[in-house]
Symmetry: C6
Subunit: 302 residues, 6 copies
């Protein structure tokens, strides 16, 4: 059974649910839809985490809230309640994550954000969980470009709002550069380089594939690739900048809401993007948040 | 006994057929003709798969349909019925595979397509099975160019029909680039580089031959090679584009038929290319299809 | 428990304090604040060193002075009382370390110096202990630039005062160059190179990550990186030169005080920077000092 | 005893002949002359093969025909009777091998062809056996150039006759390029590069000598070498083209005779080159032939 | 106890002296001053050698002469009395070593020569022992330049006196080039390259640090480094040439004295440099001398 | 005991002579003088070979002729009497070796030839044994240039006499190129590159020193080195050509004498160079000769 399909994940979840006291509000179909990109081991892991959480919370049945928490643990590691951020770093994190989330909402071809938070998990001070709209096996050029733009949105928000940039976007750059490079060298999506594969994938694996993969073209072509990667990143950066500048007020609203509530769900983001206010809510716990990250769960090749 | 000859494969099939209940419609001569490029292990594997399939289907004898299914399994892996593609991805796959198949029919020197399908198998969302017209030991320059053109046909179809390109052609580019590079560096088929071997084959094998093979020429020659590979790919791409643009209506007919029936045999493709309609058929099962692939079975060195 | 937070370090210190006779003047909260960047092993090490020192000094309880000495031992190794520097080298060391310390005080975004000394420890003839103002997880561009400037201040002081340069700044150059290179290749802080990651971090680890990391861009980009790193270093060097030239008299005062007292605390530096004289003090022991070093304790990624 | 001399081979053959029933027509002196380049193991192998063949053929004594067949087996592997070539590939093979053979006859300094055949052996669809005229230890520049020209004759024949080129010459290009490269880098036979050794032979052998050998000169020299190798190959190619174009009728005669008889001996080639017809012969068996190859047996360093 | 300080070496010598019959003329303080750069093992070795020498010479106590001989043995290996140089090689060696020694005396910032000899030791035909004036931990730019100039003085003397150069300076060039390269890449002493570290020292150590250290800059910077190293060497060479040409007569006096006496102490060199004659001495033994070398004992980083 | 000195070799020979029946004509002092460059193992080997030869020849004592034959065996391997060269190859060998020998006699600074022969040994068709005039530890620039010129003399003779060149000089080119490269990169003997060491010798030894040695300079310097090596080789080649062209008649005399007598001693060469005839001699055995080689025995660093 493959986890690449909704049906496959549902079947695996059925197996793990057997003999466990599942709460009435817990819906395995919904869980299968929320876990694209999970391996079989991830699903097993998630089911066990949920059971443990329910036990720790003294509940008789595993509810949807335990499953949701378990999904995030599998993706981003356990929460780190002990981290106390300075007010300035908290604000920076809120704008950084807000930048990712807002672009995810505004760019129609990006993976839509499911949740954004400035509650630290693992090594991250905050993160966005974004899911593709459906189980997909191929990704289009415009989807890749939109996702790169979203990745660059964190740094752009820092720049627009604070006029100062930080080390917090290093990971975003790695992901964005990697994707742009694949567009040029694997997906044949650069007119400059043409519909070629540059660097063979099926080469001998010894010191890891990456090492020798990149060596079957000349230095001139290496430079052409570098320039194309740069052009793609620059264009996506400009787009991120244009969109976030235009929607600066929405960005402020999202950052403010994040500082107040620490996490926002997809529908709350929609409300803020629509220019409306969130319903008054229970005030969030005064919690802290570590480094800046955007987590995108994309199935398959991109 | 070698499997490189028809006679050799027939002899091996005789061995594997012994003691097995072969159906009256199963013809070992035909099987030998359908399996160029198979190793002895592949043939043994195929014979066993066919017996298993017959058993699973509750049949007393192994019929031609079991052998045919077994051949595809050996080439492309088991069918993946659980994959449910979105309508958009299914259409994209139909045009991508249709592009390969139509060029395979229209270019006289390409390996003619035996079957095209959008039923997923292994990692592929769809594929074309193409066989060379006869057992051949050498391949001509025009045959290689035609096959490269066919490989690029999937991406070209995406571009012409949807005006949008996807990651689905990455594998095609690898195969096409590899073949173009061999034309230049091994087969002496570039006037620019001349009748030379660039990169020795008989070098020391340590981290795999590919690694060090490519290092016995200067960076200037490496760049010349890159430019020639690019030129070959570009010319084949233009040709694919010209042919598919001219036969856009046939491409539409093939894609439509694939969406209805999921698989097309060589004669059905001929009917569609001739501008005629297919006989009404039993409607295909509502099935799903994964990534885009073209499988070419070519014996020998190319 | 993580040592990246104040709270985490405090908790670990509690564990190590158990059963040990802690003096009344020793404050674990203060110790936690003085040990950012320490690992759990460092904290354990520090607690044991403090206990040993107290025993050696014939004290019944571990006082704050033992803890302070233990912290420096963990950072910079044991004191080397046997080294006798020539007067010229002692003066050179005083100006070199004074240059670091003065810039650390004058540049608002640099990590402020906690202590400066020309008492040799480990391989260093002298050193500065500088701590970031708070537990931080991200570092801004201006903070990095200020810290590079501080690192270059040792050499600049040599040049301004003696008109002669020495080998003593080699280590400073390594740290400064490393930080400047990261600005360009990891933190996306060069307009020339753009918001890209140059050299993937997640590559195969075989001979250590550094080896192959740097090879996924062309030589042209390698040269662009070199030029940007040079530009950053040059600008920081000019800034260090301008600031130290302007405050030459303060630098003289600090160097003179170091030659007299061997070590200066943060508040003594403040007094000297304010143009005032230090209170007469017990004359320091006639001690010697080895090579020139600036020790910056920065938590996290920079 | 060395096999590099006629006398040495004769002595070794004496040893292997002991106790074996040698036929009256078998002449060990002639065998020694036909086996330059053989190692001691090759000679032992050849003697055993001959004995086996005689046994299989039900003969009491090992005749010269068994020895001759055994020599070819050692050089080119066993005959492959099961390969059935298409008429087009057979014709192509006949012209390809005919091109090698005719140039071997017409160029006075080339190793003269002893036999040419389109009966497949091992991986080859056909081959030429060429022997140097005498046991030689040094090779002159004109001899090397003539042998390169012969190697390129197969491709040239394809081009002249069919106006289409194939993958069948890949092996010829490797041998010709290797020889041309040695002229430039080892034998000091390029005025452009001078009487130098480029790439040391006595370097450390670790991953095989070739790997590191080529690295002790600059990229500029690497490019000079590449251009010289190209010039040599081009001049030899032009010469092959000129000679075969001028003697196109002889080439046709040889190809026709090969298609009829499958193999031609040296004297039959002479007859055809002289413009005469071959004596009517027993018609050759309708046999098949695989890939295109020229086997040159050269003793020693070239 | 460290050997990097005078006090440390004295303490170690005390340990090794215990229980040994030390002569009245042997002064451990002087010995400690003569052994900068010695490791603990070197000191132990030296003490044992001195004891053995005294035994071999039938003395009851270890005198200063045994200790002096032992120090040289540790530095340069045992004397090689069996080497008989031709008169021409002896003269060449006298001028080569004389060139080193004279520059060491005339350049105020060079390590002053303690002794010069043409008595062969180990692989060297002759050598100079030069000690820094005091225990030092940092080295200035002018000191490094002076030491490079001294290193080149051997070759310069050959050139000035004989108009012919030999292979005897190969080792000097290695040391001088290494030091010049460190000025540029580690000590930030080139205006052209700036105050940077080029090649990280803390990289992964696998095949030794040197291998991968040098690869984190572009080829353009590599060339800049090469040109700067060349410039430094050229300037030092010119300086050596100017000084030795001006003091040619002193050089002649030193060479002549070396040929007569084989070894010269620091004060004898001073006498010759001052233009005076040496006191008539016991004629040196007719001894022989091997290759040309200058031994500089420098503590620490340079 | 070292073999680098005459005295050392004499002492070792004494050891090996003990208990062996040495003939009256055998002089150990002469043997020591004839074996510069021999290791201790070589001397032991030589003594044993001489004893074996005497036994084989049925002699009671080991005479000087056995020692002389043993020396050559150690240098060049056993004689190969079975090789029968064609008259053309024999003549070529005579001129090739004659070229080496004549230049060795005419260039005053070359190692003078001790013997020249066209009797094959080991892999060589002929060879020259050349000894330096005395035990030397340094080599001058003019001596190296003279020796390179001698090495190139074999090819030059081929070219002048036959107007045709062969593969027989490959080994000479390797030796000459290696020596020229050392002049430029180790001995500081190129004005273009300066008195530098290019490629450190003390680097990590892993895959052998040569591999990584050559990598610490830029490609521009690598090209400069290549050009200088080429210039040196070209100048030596021109010199060889000029000298041999001028003394063509002497070369003819030497070649003729070699063809008649197969070997010539130093004094016979002198006679021929002086334009006189050799005394009628016992005609040499009709013997054969393999490939072309010049063996130079040089002690030490060059």
């Amino acid at each position: 059974m493959t986890t690449r399909t909704l049906r496959g994940r549902r079947a695996i979840l059925d197996v793990h649910a057997r003999g466990k006291p599942i709460g009435d509000d817990a819906n395995l179909d919904v869980l299968a839809r929320r876990t694209p990109g999970f391996s079989g081991a991830d699903l097993a892991n998630m089911a066990n985490e949920a059971a443990l959480l329910a036990a720790r919370r003294g509940r008789k049945r595993i509810g949807m809230s335990e499953f949701d928490e378990a999904i995030e643990r599998v993706i981003a590691g356990p929460q780190r309640k002990s981290r106390i951020l300075s007010p300035k770093e908290r604000e920076l994190t809120a704008y950084h994550e807000g930048g990712h989330a807002l672009l995810g909402k505004l760019l129609p071809q990006a993976n839509p954000p499911h949740k954004v938070t400035i509650l630290p998990r693992g090594m991250a001070l905050g993160y966005v969980i974004a899911l593709p709209q459906e189980d997909k096996y191929t990704v289009t050029q415009s989807e890749i470009l939109a996702n790169i733009t979203v990745m660059l949105g964190g740094r752009v928000a820092e720049e627009i709002v604070f006029g100062e940039i930080t080390t917090g976007a290093a990971n975003d750059f790695e992901n964005a550069t990697d994707l742009a490079r694949k567009m040029v060298t694997e997906f044949g999506m650069s007119d400059k380089l043409g519909p070629l594969a540059l660097g063979t994938k099926h080469g001998p694996v010894f010191l890891g594939r990456d090492l020798f993969e990149s060596q079957n073209y000349s230095d001139e072509i290496a430079y052409e690739i570098d320039k194309e990667v740069r052009r793609i990143i620059d264009e996506c950066y400009s787009r991120a900048r244009a969109v976030l500048t235009e929607h600066k007020e929405t960005l402020d609203r999202i950052a403010k809401a994040l500082l107040e509530r620490e996490s926002l769900q997809s529908d709350e983001l929609d409300t803020l993007v629509a220019g409306q206010l969130l319903r008054p809510d229970l005030p969030a716990l005064a919690s802290s948040a570590p480094s800046l990250e955007q987590i995108t769960v994309t199935p398959g090749s991109a």
